[in-house]
């Protein structure tokens, strides 16, 4: 159970003055500027949920994850994860969580992967038998067997990431924080990690927060979506809801058998002003309409009555289009 209330983080950074004179001034007088990375964020995540936390670069995703994992103190507001206040009870709290930072590794670079796993067994004081059982299950799920004796520096990014995922799961955490776990991976690597995350979420009920820029991942994994921009949450809900909220426009493309008189067709269909129709090439007609003004069936029925149609495509804007529009501020 993750509870976040009015969470705010303001970074204070030292503003350097330019030039030699500025450097001298800096010695005696420091000017600070404040950056509000997270701005009054509140949400609750229930046990077993898999939540996607997305937003453009610099939206405050990583800062939030850092505060949730206890490695950053909030400027104001509350965080509680399974009853712990992360930064205050860091030592005890970290026993119960797993963290994956896609840009970092918790494996030891120069030595075989299995040695890092052995270290983690001691660090989290995992029972020998539990450790063996979990490790062999993960090895099977992620096909890690051949990687264990290899020094981490010789692994590919995808292989290393799979090992890092296992490292974060060995102590059976109740909550898993994933900050861009698939960054830089190829399609196959991403797929493998997606499958693994879906499985452990489903079978072990591990609560997960996932930040990513890969929206395919969000669509396939997350039941719920939190979108942040400029430190604030701008959407909290499922993907269908997001479509409903942000895509008022829908589109149907008709392939025609014969040339038609466009003006004649338009008057015959008698759409109201919210519908835009255009001829793309002589044999195809695109109709764009608003979700709440007509139903697709309505549109299709009217066009079929008035034109020789042999194919119909209903275009749904992709989640990527929607989020792209939100990011660029034209929702």
């Amino acid at each position: 159970m993750i509870e976040v209330e009015h969470l705010t983080k303001v970074y204070r950074s030292f503003k350097r003055k330019e030039g030699l004179k500025g450097a001298l001034v800096n010695l005696f007088y420091r000017d600070y500027e404040s950056v509000q990375a997270v701005d009054d964020v509140s949400f609750t995540i229930n046990p077993g949920e898999l939540v996607g936390y997305i937003g453009p670069n610099g939206a405050g995703k990583s800062t939030t994850i850092k505060m949730l994992t206890g490695i950053l103190i909030p400027t104001s507001g509350q965080v509680r994860v399974n009853g712990f206040i992360p930064y205050r009870e860091r030592y005890e709290y970290t026993r119960h969580i797993g963290v994956v930072f896609g840009q970092r590794t918790q494996l030891w670079w120069d030595i075989p992967v299995q040695e890092s796993f052995r270290l983690l067994r001691k660090v989290y004081q995992i029972d020998e038998k539990d450790f063996r059982d979990r490790l062999s299950m993960f090895i099977e799920l992620l096909d890690l067997g051949p990687l264990l004796p290899i020094p981490v520096r010789k692994l590919s990014l995808g292989q290393r990431m799979r090992c890092d995922l296992v490292a974060s799961m060995l102590h059976h955490p109740k909550v898993l924080f994933l900050d861009e776990p698939t960054i830089g991976l190829d399609v196959v690597g991403k797929l493998r990690i997606r499958e693994f995350l879906a499985k452990i979420n489903r079978e072990f009920g591990v609560t997960m927060i996932l930040t990513t820029h890969d929206l395919r991942e969000i669509e396939e994994l997350c039941q719920r979506l939190l979108i942040v921009d400029k430190g604030k949450i701008i959407y909290d809900g499922d993907i269908e809801g997001l479509r409903m909220k942000y895509t008022l426009d829908r589109r149907i493309v008709f392939q025609l058998n014969d040339n038609i008189d466009f003006d004649e067709l338009q008057s015959a269909c008698a759409f109201n002003g919210s519908v835009r129709s255009e001829v793309m090439d002589p044999l195809s007609l695109k109709v764009t309409f608003q979700r709440d003004s007509y139903s697709p069936a309505d549109i299709i029925e009217r066009v079929l009555k008035n034109a020789p149609v042999h194919d119909i495509t209903i275009e749904e804007p992709s989640i990527e289009d929607i989020i792209g529009r939100i990011y660029s501020g034209q929702s």
């Binding site: 490695i71 930072f101 590794t105 030595i111 001691k122 004081q125």
Partner: protein, 276 residues
């Protein structure tokens, strides 16, 4: 900031830190070949100081209470000690903090100081097992080095130089943490090496310095790193003074580790507020 108790961490979880020591040892093992090559450059380094003192003495005189033979033993053995008390955890801490990798340690139930001390001990263990023995062999074969004055002194020398490992480690830990407060720590690390070589008595015995310098260095922990074990080896400390010297080393260990814990509290606060 953590609410765990000392006993919980120091006793029940010792195996955790033993594992950090083991893995650090193993990491060093990955570079064993470059260390074995390093033996030769190290011996050349020792030879420079060895022949410098030989030239300084020219003939059989006693300078400030040291005969030529004592001085040659002093300098050779000093560098043998350094070959195992040296560690690079200051650099490891600096790198981890500057790259942000320190976050990966903060998300684990480990005590930061004990973890780094264990890692430093792993370095020293590696050095004692693989780096120091060939250096001892080559040094004793090539140079004129006296054996210890008695078996008792030999045992106390081993004890005293083990304390040196801990003192050096505790200081290095604090130096590494300073990187959190400075953007560039290269200068700090460089001057640290010079200051420790000088004030530990590794380059010149402390009793060759002017009186004011001597009294200052006896108020600092550095002379416990090299000067103290070497004086024991040469038999220049006898009787009760032996126990006083070892007691002083122990006292410094306690003080330095205590300071280390305080410095870490300040550093941790800063990391947790500024995000590393």
């Amino acid at each position: 900031m953590s609410t765990y108790t000392i006993t919980d961490d120091y006793i029940a979880n010792l195996s955790k830190y033993a594992e950090y020591m083991r893995i650090s040892f193993q990491k060093m093992l990955a570079y064993r070949v470059s260390y074995l090559i390093g033996v030769f450059t190290y011996v050349i380094h020792v030879a420079v100081y060895y022949f410098l003192y030989k030239a300084l003495y020219m003939e059989d005189v006693t300078i400030k209470g040291y005969t030529l033979q004592e001085m040659l033993t002093y300098v050779s053995l000093g560098w043998i000690c350094k070959s195992f008390y040296l560690n690079y955890i200051d650099r490891e801490i600096t790198d981890d903090v500057q790259s942000g990798q320190v976050a990966m340690d903060l998300i684990k139930p480990v005590d930061f100081q004990l973890m780094y001390v264990a890692r430093g001990l792993g370095h020293s263990l590696f050095r004692i097992v693989l780096f120091t023995p060939p250096i001892i062999v080559v040094t004793f074969l090539l140079f004129s080095v006296s054996p210890p004055v008695s078996l008792g002194h030999m045992m106390l020398f081993i004890l005293s130089s083990s304390f040196s490992v801990l003192i050096y480690l505790g200081i290095n830990y604090i130096i590494g943490l300073l990187s959190i407060f400075f953007l560039s720590i290269r200068g700090v690390l460089y001057s640290k090496n010079l200051i420790i070589e000088l004030l530990s008595g590794l380059l010149i015995p402390i009793d060759w310095f002017p009186p004011w310098f001597q009294s200052m260095s006896f108020l600092l922990p550095f002379q416990s790193i090299a000067y103290c074990p070497l004086q024991i080896y040469l038999g220049r400390i006898q009787g009760l003074s032996l126990f006083f010297s070892l007691g002083l080393q122990l006292l410094w260990i306690v003080i330095i580790f205590g300071i280390g814990r305080i410095v870490w509290r300040l550093c941790q606060r800063r990391i947790l507020i500024q995000g590393g």
